[in-house]
Symmetry: C2
Subunit: 353 residues, 2 copies
Amino acid sequence: MSNRLEKLREILASENVDAVLISDEKNIFYFTEFFGGFRLLAPVDGECILFVHSVNYEAAREQAKNVKVEPIRIGEKADAKIFEEVNRSGIKSLGLDRIGAAEYLRIKEGLKDVRIESLDNAIWSLRKVKDENEIAFMRKAAELTSKGMEKAIEIARAGRREYEVAAEIEFEMHKLGSNGIAFDTIICSGPDSAFPHGGWGEREIRSGDLVVIDIGAKYRGYCSDLTRTLIIGTPSEKQIHIYRTVAEAQKAAISRMKSGEKASEIDAAARRHIVERGYGEYFVHSLGHGVGLDIHEPPSLGPLSEDILSSCNVVTVEPGIYIPGFGGVRVEDTILIREEDAVKLTDAPILQL
Amino acid sequence: MSNRLEKLREILASENVDAVLISDEKNIFYFTEFFGGFRLLAPVDGECILFVHSVNYEAAREQAKNVKVEPIRIGEKADAKIFEEVNRSGIKSLGLDRIGAAEYLRIKEGLKDVRIESLDNAIWSLRKVKDENEIAFMRKAAELTSKGMEKAIEIARAGRREYEVAAEIEFEMHKLGSNGIAFDTIICSGPDSAFPHGGWGEREIRSGDLVVIDIGAKYRGYCSDLTRTLIIGTPSEKQIHIYRTVAEAQKAAISRMKSGEKASEIDAAARRHIVERGYGEYFVHSLGHGVGLDIHEPPSLGPLSEDILSSCNVVTVEPGIYIPGFGGVRVEDTILIREEDAVKLTDAPILQL
């Protein structure tokens, strides 16, 4: 953990910035192991200060690592307190991470003599390369998600309603130790499976349906992401053709993935396969995204991505074909990039059709 | 719904702004009934355009109300497309809602000749006054949350672990029709009950524990928020004194609430009671917050709040006392403000000690 702060300080030194004021709650967790901090002020040298509203002060004092905890008490103005500390420490240049426009403008106004710049990408350059602890947590999250999918495959039958299936999956992951869900569960059946982000509703699953099941457990703050599509009853020729195309596209992409590859070319490998089979217009999203403390984070696997994959990135690979009125198929795994190849962290059967 | 867009247009007219570009996903839902839009461009007159990434295009075409849906296709740049539309329609002044600093700076750069201003507060002025439909959905969310609390009270016994209780509550709400949870469930037992936002862990509940249970169901996007504190086994004198103080503080606050009251004075009424009983330093957060599509939204009930309550606001009232090493008590309900009084939407027993 303190290794992470050291790397952050190397960034500050190389960017010639006196300090960084971190606002994003997951970035704060990344450096302090504490959820619930308000702002983290990390100078290039000297003590890091975690500003915490009094509601979380006692928890921060017990749990936050590598920082001095400074409470913002009821009735105190947070901005004023932080600006005072920046001025007191003689900070002349300040990096920021992801922040709202209103807060940004208040900082520019309140710290007029301080040079402000974005270090958001620099912090992502750390977060997107997972360390050993993070990979262990992500393996555990993936394992819990895989158990959730086992449950889904067991219970998603004709006659069950989408929300019942969602409830059972989440309950299963929760009982096994998932710390909440990484995103809203998706159970989309029948024609609604053509909506990639369709959530779930009260629809009853019927024979002949495609059912897209997209789920993610969380463990120690780390997300996982897994999709399988079920075919209820006897698959039709068209369902089989689409399903095979998607599964092959995923395989084609994963087989090319390793450190040093362009993310856009991995997307292209999957997309080319789907285009060749005649479904290009129905693959309506990017191939995948980074996963970690956030469910969507760098690197991005899409046609416009400028990311290069590197060892210890964790990303999803999730080709899909969605035909309005007919239905959709998506197959997705959470993948760990290594020097020479890529391995699935999630595990669930792919239909052999 | 189109009533909401009409009110938005009145704001644009009175602020003398040609159009508003809405980025916040819940604001977009508020005006279109669709989750998953990317940006909503609403001019003071003429057609509203909902920009949607192609992943959500078919769903938007089916579900989004009052707008023309414009896809951002794979490989297209969203900013360029939106700026082009702004220029094409001759928009010279553009309002924005809550937006990230990076996006804000891109808009300033990409639309140099357009006057940019924030309409965030103006949009909140609409959202914080709930209409009939919203109140019906919030009643339903509150009802589901109350059922979850019934379950919690039934199962939270010595020997059960915090995460088991959390899993059962969420499962219950989910089965009854909750559309997900409004926030991460809090089950904090024993000394951990002194951490107001403590989440839940693997701790086994024991006789003598205080157990803070803070839960919320969601219905059609609308949140609810309810806390009860259980005392496992025979309550101690100190537990009784703290519990009574918190319950009385909540009652004192609610009895003063009606349209026209200052939010800061409602906070003060509860806080005064807790201070008088000698626990002032342990009430470490604001009294409450608005609830709606967001779990935390205006109006705020805290000492620094400048909000005035008005009819059809929905807010939480949640006094608490948290003593490090000893434990905490919080009692919270979701409350609807009316002309002459305020009523609880949530419903769960308060211990008669």
